[in-house]
Structures are given as C-alpha cells and as structure tokens.
C-alpha cells in the first residue's frame, strides 16, 4: 500500500493484474480496481454538510443509507468537477481496518472495464503523474498510452480525510 520500493516493485505489480473500471475525470482516464466498485448511479445532488473540506461534496441517500460523496478531482488538488449530464457517482466499498466503508465518488464519465495482466502494469513513476505517488497503484499500458491505476484505499483513506476534515472544521470554527 505504501510507496513501492524500486527493487521488488515488479513482483508487487504482477499481483495487481485484474479488471479495472476506467473512469474519466475531466480529460484524464483512471483505472479503479473493479473489486472495490459496488455500483454506478446517476448523479444526484448531495446534501451539504457544513464545515467540511472542499473535496467532501456532501452526503446522499443510497436506499436508506447515508453515503458521503467525494470529489476526487478536489482531493487531487485540482479544480472542482463540473456537473453535466454524463456525470455519475461511483459507489465504492473500501476495507478500512475491520470495517467496510461505503463512499461515493463523482466522476465525469464511466467508460469501460479493462482487464490488465500483471505484465501490463508498471510501477508508479516517482514524479510526473501530477498526483501523490502513494495514490497510484501502477501504470497500465494500453495502446501506447498509460492509464493511471488508483490506489483507492489511499485516495479515500478515511483516516487522512477525517484529519483534513478536522482541520477544516477547526479553521471554520476558530475563525
């Protein structure tokens, strides 16, 4: 889960072969491990929760369950995702310690499901992807093009996001 050491990186990467859901964020495509994806729903307007960091858009009612919605572009430090008619919410289930956490991620589009073998996946570059390296599981090569495979457990790490939320709430309250 942490940054892969250069030496045994390939051995690790082979393990990551499998099916990936290709999502689109603005102009870029990312791969998300299909085993974490629960469902894809049409965009619904989330209810805002005050004093949260900007990447927490709010919460929605998913068949009686309150699910937090994350703007993943904001999480990457990019401008907020604009909502349009193809926008949708990808619901993911992440294992966080003992519990499973359900989160929704706003994406511009969901394109396809691709299968990558271990050899197709290369370790994350140390820089140049425009993302924190720990968010990247690896780079999958498709038709002379690389798709960044996201490490969703890291991207949507509740511990880290909760800390950021605490800072945001503290700043709002203390101001």
């Amino acid at each position: 889960m942490n940054m892969l050491p250069a030496g045994d990186g390939t051995a690790q990467v082979e393990h990551w072969g499998g099916q990936y859901l290709i999502i689109q964020l603005q102009t870029e495509s990312f791969g998300v491990d299909i085993t974490a994806v629960r469902e894809i729903i049409a965009y619904v307007v989330p209810t805002q929760i005050p004093m949260m960091p900007t990447f927490v858009v709010g919460v929605i009612n998913l068949r009686g369950q309150v699910v937090p919605i994350i703007d993943i572009a904001r999480r990457f430090g990019r401008p907020a995702t604009a909502i349009h008619k193809r926008s949708c919410i990808t619901i993911v289930d992440l294992q966080e310690g003992e519990s499973r956490q359900r989160l929704g991620v706003i994406v511009d589009a969901v394109n396809e499901v691709l299968e990558f073998s271990g050899e197709q996946i290369e370790p994350a570059p140390q820089f140049g992807a425009g993302l924190r390296t720990e968010f990247i599981r690896g780079m999958a090569k498709v038709a002379n093009q690389f798709i960044t495979l996201l490490e969703m457990e890291r991207v949507l790490s509740l511990d880290e996001m909760a800390q950021l939320a605490a800072i945001a709430a503290g700043a709002a309250a203390g101001a």
Binding site: I49, P50, M52, V59, G64, V66, Q101, L158, A169, A173
Partner: protein, 733 residues
C-alpha cells in the same frame, strides 16, 4: 476442551448465560443478607442457584464444575437447614466461590486450561469450605467404610438420638421400618465380598428387626459351586438413616446384586410431606424422588436405562410405572411426586415469560422499523399532496401505528439502569474492605432506561469513578471522625432522564477535590502554567488529563493516573460528557451525561438557507419570531432575561444572505439555554438517526443525519456540542 455438535454447543452457550445470571442472583442475595441478615427465602435462592448450576454442568459433563459446586452446595445445605449460621466470613467465602465458579465457566467458554493459580484458588476454597462444614461430615461425601474393615464393631449400637448429619439432610425420615430385599450376585464371593459383613455394617446405622435368609435359589448339593453365592435376605430394618445412606452400605455389591430398599408405610407420608416442601423449580420426577431421598441416584439411573431399553417400539413407559414395578418406590410416593411436578410446571409458566433474543436480530428489527418510519413519512407526504381525504386519513393512521411500533421496538433494546448498577454493591463492598474503610452504597434512579449497548460501555468508566471516589474521595474513619462526619462513608449512584439524555451521577461524601493540590500537580506536570487564570471547573477538569494523579500513594485501587483520562475517552466515545462538581469538605459529584442513542428521535425540522436541518425535539423549549430590531447584538430579551443567540447560518459559514423571516428556537442543555436563529420552521417529524461515519466525526455541531420523507438527507444538530462550543469559545457570532 469440549467437542459438541452445534445444537449442544448452542445449549452450552445458554448454560453459560444462565449460569452467569444465576451467579449474579446468588451474589445479590448474599450481599443483601450481609446487610439485612439471613432470611430463608434468599438462602433458598442461593442454594437453588448453586444446585441448578451443578445440575446443568452435570448434563454437559463439566465434572470440575460439578465437583466444586457440590462442595459449595454441602455448605449451603447446612446453612439452609440451620445447622450452620450465615456469618460474614461465610458470606465472603460463598462470594469467592461464586467468583470461582464464574472463573470455571469463563475458562471452559474460552477453552483455556485451568492454570496453577486457578487450581491453587480451587484448593484454597475447597479447604475453606471443608473447614466451614465443620466436624460433621455430610452423608453423601462420606462413602461407606468397607465393611471388611470393621468386623469387630458388631456390638456397637446406634446412637440413641439421630445424628445431626442425618437430621439436616432433606431425605431424613425420623422413624420407620425399612424393608430391604437383598439378592446377592453369584460372584459375590469371587469378588472378595462376604454377605455377612454387609449385614454387620448395616447394623451400625440401624437395628435389624427381623431377617429371613432365602435359600430357594440354592441348587442341589451336587450342582452347587462352593465359590458362588446363592443367598438372599429379606430384612426388616429400623433406622433414622435415609435411603441413600442405607444404599451406601451395599455400595460394593450394587453392581452384581439385586437390592430393593423400601420404606415402611409410615414413611410414605413423610416423603409426601418432603415432596410438598420442595422449592418451586422444574424438576423431573426422578429428581424429585431423589431429592426427598425415596430414590437413590443409582436406582434412578437403572430405571432410566430400563425406560430406554423399553423404548424400542416408540412407546414410552412412564418412569413412575417403572419405579413402582421395580419396587424402587411405592406408588403413593410416585403419585405425590407427579402432583408436585405438575405444580412446579404451572408455576413455571408464570415465571418464564421472558424470551431470549439475539441482539443482532433485534438490531435488524430496529433498522427495519427505521426504514418503515421513513417510508411512512413519505407516504404521509404524498397523501397530503394528493388531497384525497381518505388517503390522508389512512396515511395518518398508518403513521400512528408506525409510531407505536417504533416505540415498542426501541423499548426492546432498553434495559433498566438497575442492571448496570447491580454489580456495584459487590465492588463497593470488596473495595471498601481492601481500603479498610467503612463505606455504604446508595443506589437511586432505578427504572431509568438506557440502550443496552450504552449500558455495556458505561460500566467500566462507572466502575473506575466509584473506585476512585472510594479511594481518594472518602477519608479514613479517623479523619471523618475528626471532621465530625459519620464514620461510615457513602457513595451514591443515581440515574435520571434529563433533556433528551441520561444523567448518571457518582457522588461521595468525602473531602471533595483539592483545588490547590490539583493545580500544584498540574503545574508540576507542566499541564498548565502558574500564570494561567483557571476557573474551578477548569481545574477539576485537569484530573482527566493523561497521566494525572494526585494520590501520594499508588494503591491497588487507583492512583496510577491511567484511569481518569480513559474514563473521559470512553464516555466521549459514546457521545457523552462528564463534569465534576465538588464542595471542599462535603464531597464531590461526577455527572455523566449520555445521549439516549436511540436510533429514532422526534426531530424538529428547520431551514437554514436552502438546506433542511433537524434539531432533536426533546431539547427544544419554544419557538419565537426573531426580533429584527435586535440586530446583531447576540442576545435577545426573553421574559426579562437575556437569551444568548446563536446564528446557525454564521456558525456553519453559509454565504447566503440573511433570510427575510427568521425564527428563534430556544433550546436547553443542562443549565444553559440558547436561542438558535434559523430560517423557516418546517415542524415536527420522526427521524431515524443515520450515522455519518468517521469522516464527519470532527464537524462540531452535527451529530448524525437523517433521511426525510422526500428522500433528502438532513443533518441532525448536536445541541450540547453547539452550546458548549459557543459558551466556551465566548464567540459572539
């Protein structure tokens, strides 16, 4: 340690649960008697608890438990019959034995082995039990001495008065002639037994009135095997011993010989009386007969084996019939026992109106009821929109019923706070002894109900607070005397409902918190600087800092400073809070405030800008129109009193323009009352609490969310946190 099929495993689980409850009952009864003196009803209750545990443990083959409980039961039996008094020393011993049985159960439940320490405790307790039993051995554990060892005691006559050991056992019958029918087995001589020595030994416990030697099975001399025994005896025997005692005499030949021991008719009435005096517990016919002494364990086993053997064709011959046919018991006694059994069963129907339900099933039900509440709210909403009168009416009726179901379902999860408090008498008693202080416990507020999961989580913090108060709060007897206080210290536990929450207080009448000492220690530990100006409340709150302890001496009970911060953490983990009130010289009070954590609450819906928020209705006192002329002063006048105002749009940093019409919702938490300035008021609605999860833990002022009838999510305001934040920050929003 035990390998069981699933059904048995489930039964074993039930046994563990029931045994723990029984042990708790036992403890309660003992503690009560320690204070209020022995009464036969409670002694019986204790005895029954031990007896039931022993019996059930036997069914599961938990020999260690049976063995230990049996010894305990011997002492209890003596106490029950009045031979031994229930002294404080014995109460302490009995309490320890209860703990020890619980220890056995825990170890069996977790499959862990009985370690050295545990076995040493086992030995110690058994030794103590034996010592308390005194010199009179109990019939059942003193096996019949081998008759061969005592051939010279033939002349010894029975004591003129019945021995005490017999008079107290339940099966004792004062007088009467027993009829003993003996047919020695063929191999008796080969086994090294001499029928005569049994008869001699029999004389030690009674008088042989008449004896007939039966020789009819003796074959012709030519066919007789000199090493075989062909003898039989019919004996009329007078003794005050019970049946088990008599049967014990023939212990060594019971396998090979046919032995019937029948009491005389005079004793049948005595048995019937004994049967009537049995406690009201569900017993099998055999158990009833054994417990009054008219049947021995071996005979019962034999009869049951016969019953099994005769069970081939699916026909179940009643045990009573077998017993009579086998001449083990006379018919009137069986009849009496059957009547008793019937009574017991009827009694049980009344008693057993409790049902064990798995907690997970209950949670599932409560969740479903939550969904039902939401669905019903949506139903009402659409009915109202449709304008069809009948539909509105039926929707209202459904909503009413759903409300009742909701209350009922939630009530299932609630337990009486008395269940939390019930373990404290023991804790206080034991701690007081360890500390060498005389402290009594007062409990009030039973009947206050709280959620079961909450109850489980609050027990440990409470335990710590109580121990702490006993150790640090209450002074030594000499000091109390010098201060003119009663020598006996007092700890009180109190519970009540307040403004949509539960308050649990731990109060002591000790010296109160030492403000200077706490401050000194805090400065020494660099928690605060000497320059800081602190209120009493803030100073008291310092004791919750990690690693803080003012005790000069670290005792077994407390003083390590690891406790109070954990107490606070545990309480805050269940969204509770704790505050300290202290009066120097008069004692201190720890007040724990807990939310009801019901999964459904009555919500008061308000609008802030465009969003809907829920205020728990129980904290709402009244609603007013916002007095526009007040401007932004931050206070308004309510019935000649200043009411601080909290502009929620500003608290939550909404950028929206102030609404045209604003309202003030007066909310109360504890002593503080605040006016929340909101937009429109949408009214009351039942709302299901949906946890927001870890991500939103840190949002001050929002505790959870709910789903409205139209499917939207609405945050639920955390009124105590908002008030607390507002008052402590002293911000004027």
């Amino acid at each position: 340690m035990i390998d069981l099929d699933p059904q048995m495993a489930a039964a074993l689980q039930t046994f563990f649960e029931e045994s723990r409850e029984l042990l708790q009952d036992m403890e309660n009864a003992l503690l009560f008697m320690e204070n209020a003196g022995a009464d036969s009803e409670r002694i019986n209750a204790v005895f029954r608890a031990a007896h039931t545990i022993k019996g059930s443990a036997g069914l599961f083959g938990l020999e260690e438990v049976v063995r230990f409980t049996h010894r305990l039961e011997n002492l209890l039996d003596q106490i029950r019959s009045g031979v031994t008094d229930l002294t404080p020393v014995r109460i302490t011993l009995l309490l320890s034995c209860g703990d020890h049985i619980a220890g056995y159960l825990d170890r069996i439940a977790t499959d862990s082995s009985l370690d050295q320490v545990f076995l040493a405790e086992d030995l110690r307790l058994l030794g103590d039990l034996a010592a308390q039993l005194g010199s009179s051995p109990v019939a059942s554990i003193a096996p019949a001495i081998a008759p061969a060892l005592a051939p010279t005691t033939l002349a010894l006559t029975i004591p003129p008065s019945p021995e005490p050991e017999f008079s107290n056992s339940p099966g004792s019958v004062q007088t009467g002639n027993w009829h003993i029918s003996l047919r020695f087995g063929r191999d008796t001589f080969r086994d090294g037994m001499d029928p005569l020595s049994f008869l001699r030994y029999l004389e030690q416990i009674g008088e042989i009135i008449g004896i007939v030697t039966l020789t009819d099975s003796l074959p012709a001399l030519s066919q007789m095997d000199a090493e075989s025994c062909y003898l039989g005896f019919e004996i009329s025997f007078r003794s005050s011993a019970n049946k088990a005692k008599i049967a014990d005499v023939f212990d060594f030949v019971k396998e090979s010989s046919t032995i019937h021991i029948l009491p005389a008719h005079s004793q049948i009435t005595a048995y019937l009386q004994l049967i009537q005096q049995l406690p009201e517990a569900d017993q099998h016919l055999g158990e009833i007969l054994v417990s009054v002494g008219s049947l021995t364990e071996e005979e019962l086993q034999k009869a049951l084996t016969l019953q099994d053997a005769g069970n081939q064709g699916g026909q179940h011959q009643p045990l009573g019939e077998i017993l009579v046919a086998q001449k083990m018991v006379q018919e009137p006694v069986v009849q009496g026992a059957l009547e008793k059994q019937q009574q017991q069963r009827e009694h049980q129907v009344v008693e057993r109106q409790m049902l064990r339900v798995r907690a997970a099933d209950l949670d599932q039900l409560v969740n479903l009821v939550g969904e039902l509440v939401i669905a019903s709210a949506a139903n009402s909403l659409y009915a109202a929109q449709s304008n069809a009168e009948e539909r509105v009416e039926s929707a209202a009726q459904v909503a009413r019923l759903v409300e009742d179901i909701r209350d009922g379902a939630l009530h299932l999860r609630m337990i009486d706070v008395a269940e939390v408090f019930q373990r404290f008498p023991r804790v206080v008693r034991d701690t007081a002894r360890t500390l060498g202080k005389d402290i009594r416990l007062e409990i009030s507020g039973e009947g206050t109900e709280l959620d079961k999961s909450m109850a489980e989580k609050i027990t440990d913090p409470l335990m710590h607070l109580v121990r702490n108060a006993m150790d640090h709060g209450i002074e030594s007897a000499e000091r109390r005397h010098a201060l003119g206080k009663p020598a006996q210290g007092c700890i009180s536990l109190h519970a009540c409902h307040d403004a949509g929450g539960i308050i649990i207080e731990v109060r002591d009448d000790g010296g109160g918190l030492n403000r200077e000492k706490i401050l000194g220690k805090a400065i020494e530990k660099r928690l605060v600087t000497p320059e800081q100006q602190l209120s009493d409340q803030e100073i008291y709150a310092l004791i919750f800092a990690p690693g803080f302890s003012t005790a000069d001496q670290v005792s077994d009970i407390s003083g390590r400073g690891v406790g109070m911060d954990v107490v606070r953490q545990n309480i805050e983990a269940i969204r509770g809070s704790i505050e300290i009130h202290s009066t120097p010289g008069a004692g201190s009070t720890m007040r724990i405030r807990l939310p009801l954590t019901l999964s459904i609450i009555d919500g008061f819906l308000v609008k802030l800008a465009t969003d809907t928020f829920v205020i728990p209705a129980e904290s709402v006192e009244e609603c007013l129109e916002y007095p526009e002329q007040q401007g932004t002063v931050g206070y308004m006048v309510l019935r000649d009193q200043a009411l601080p105002l909290l502009h929620l749009t500003r608290v939550f940093r909404f950028d929206a323009q102030p609404e045209k019409r604003r309202n003030v919702i007066v909310v109360r938490h504890g002593q503080s009352r605040v006016g929340m300035v909101v937009g429109a008021i949408l009214g009351n609605q039942q709302t299901v609490i949906k946890p927001l999860g870890k991500l939103f833990d840190q949002v001050p002022g929002i505790s959870a969310a709910t789903i409205l009838g139209n499917g939207d999510v609405a945050p639920i305001l955390d009124i105590p946190a908002l008030i607390h934040h507002h008052t402590s920050a002293k911000h004027s929003y």
